[in-house]
Symmetry: C2
Subunit: 105 residues, 2 copies
């Protein structure tokens, strides 16, 4: 994973409102959660929620699927695992042997 991709995903999760949204979606599991239900749960304006959802979707952390008039949102677990992998590989895994890694910034 490119550093810029990881940064974009981290930034997406780095807003309290979006982190709440994402957490709610993860807790909803495979079943997902409709935008309207998300709105009730988080308690923000629909337009604000739409804005934040777009950012999460743009990073690949969240997916959407239409079911009739409602849009079901789901957390993309693979994306989160990729991000955690990046953090582990690039930023955490070599605490005890930093010299084994390319030291370029």
């Amino acid at each position: 994973m490119k550093l810029e991709t990881a940064a974009t995903q981290l930034e997406a999760l780095g807003n309290p409102t979006r982190l709440r949204i994402y957490r709610a979606l993860v807790r909803a599991g495979e079943q997902g959660l409709a935008v309207g239900h998300l709105q009730e749960r988080i308690g923000i304006a629909a337009s604000t929620l739409s804005h934040h959802l777009h950012r999460l979707i743009a990073t690949g952390l969240v997916g959407q699927e239409r079911q009739a008039t409602t849009l079901i949102c789901r957390a993309n677990y693979a994306a989160m695992n990729g991000l955690l992998g990046f953090l582990s590989d690039e930023c955490c895994a070599d605490v005890r042997s930093p010299q084994t890694k390319d030291n370029a910034a």
Copy 2:
């Protein structure tokens, strides 16, 4: 860990420049890295680097220690582990059993 704390740390890592800084510090290991060396490595203005370092330090992800005229920066591995723990516990761990968690957003 509070959600707001996690969001602040994620936001701190969610900027490409800061993620580079953080990665360089992690790779430097326990020895740490002087601000000046960081600047050479990342290639940004000293004032910009200082600004970003402050944000990383404010979140607890990075620590600083004075050695004469130079300031040594170090990654705070405990903080990163706490953040990864939050993501696992709150956002990832219960993929297979979402109903066992408090569902409030």
